[in-house]
Amino acid sequence: MNNRINKRLFELETDLDFYCYLKAHLPGEYIIVSEPSKSYYSEWHFNYMIYHKGELFKEYSGNFNELERGYLVREAKKILYNIGAEEC
């Protein structure tokens, strides 16, 4: 087992959990930032940027209501697996 894999703080259940899940489980050299909209309400729109050592690593944007269900769950798990922070 990769020694970077930490105990999960909570289960990733829906696409809506994507941001918090990665916030909680990405290794320290990665950060996730939310930049949905300058306006007061973003409601279902999201725009998440993941940076690795200051460089843009991944970006996800869209509308939760128009997503294929489970897409962000799969992406979060894929990211953590690919960087060695989560088992498949």
Binding site: F10, L16, C20, S34, P36, S39, Y40, E43
Partner: protein, 310 residues
């Protein structure tokens, strides 16, 4: 008289929730159970989206609100109807209420530190608007809810936040949620230890400074001595002027907001929204939090003067 060690516990005349919208949802769902709900056209999205998502079977009618925040209520509230009104921005709403056989509730989110006498059947609100607290809502009556389960990730994120972007994301997360959830111990401890008199005094001083020292536009409200301002709202002549000022201030790390963008359901409701839309396009909401002082307010006023000089 009964003496024993296992008697029923005491309770206070208040019920806590994780948000104002949860408190509102509880009142609608389990206490009032109305056939129809009247909401103001000038309102936060949380009430509108809670009705839309959680109570799609309940009829909603919007009533007009004037530029001076006068509410034009329906003439009568029938037995199975609910009317919601808001004490906007810490200022007592003195619009004359209609005759009612139904239920009238006060949204006190902006105003629970103002000293205002209640006239509604129930009072509810959110704590997050004034206190720097992760979450919190209340009804000023004792109930014993069976709360719904939640991971409360928005609350976790607020307390985990390193900057305003995480807090804004937590706000967005809350806008996607209508559960009736309990408040966290951390938030409850913070709000129970808050010094309301001190908060009121500091916010009053900050708001008064901006009222007296900003030289563009007009204040939306004149606060009374018993009132605790939520924000300093100012009305500018044009939307272009307002947007330009907001952008300039953001460049100076002064983040303002617009209260409120009008929800699509309000726009399409057939209610007279002329003044609501006018407010949306002319208002700038400047924060006056109690953890800021007059030096900070001076920086805001000076920055606005710099923008005026071009």
């Amino acid at each position: 008289m009964l003496i024993g060690s296992k008697l029923p516990p005491e309770h206070i005349d208040k019920t806590f929730f994780n948000s104002g919208r949860a408190a509102f949802a509880f009142l609608v769902d389990q206490v009032i159970k109305p056939r129809k709900v009247y909401l103001p056209s000038f309102t936060c999205w949380s009430l509108v989206s809670t009705m839309e998502k959680r109570f799609p079977h309940v009829e909603v009618e919007y009533y007009p609100v004037g530029r001076d925040l006068t509410c034009y209520y329906p003439k009568y509230v029938y037995k199975d109807e609910l009317l919601v009104f808001i004490h906007y921005f810490g200022h007592e709403n003195k619009s004359t209420l209609p005759e009612s056989q139904g239920t009238i509730i006060e949204d006190f989110s902006h105003s629970y530190i103002s000293k205002i006498n209640h006239v509604g059947d129930y009072v509810f609100g959110s704590y997050r608007k004034i206190l720097k607290v992760g979450e919190g809502g209340f009804i000023d009556t004792y109930f014993n809810p069976i709360y719904e389960e939640s991971k409360k990730l928005d609350t976790w994120l607020r307390y985990q936040a390193k900057d305003w972007r995480d807090v804004r994301e937590a706000e967005n997360m809350m806008d996607r949620d209508w559960q009736i959830v309990d408040i966290s111990s951390q938030s409850l401890a913070i709000l129970l230890s808050a010094n309301h008199d001190l908060i009121r005094l500091k916010r009053q001083a900050n708001e008064r400074f901006l009222t007296e020292n900003i030289t563009i536009g007009e204040p939306l409200l004149t606060y009374r001595l018993n009132e605790c301002p939520l924000l300093h709202n100012r009305l500018l002549e044009t939307q272009e002027e307002r947007d330009s000022l907001r952008e300039f201030l953001a460049g100076k790390s002064i983040f303002t907001s617009i209260h409120w963008p009008t929800h699509r359901n309000v726009k399409s409701s057939g209610c007279d929204t002329d003044d609501t839309l006018w407010l949306e396009s002319h208002i700038i909401s400047i924060p006056v939090p109690h953890n800021y002082n007059l030096n900070d307010m001076e920086y805001i006023a000076e920055s606005i003067q710099r923008w005026q000089k071009g």
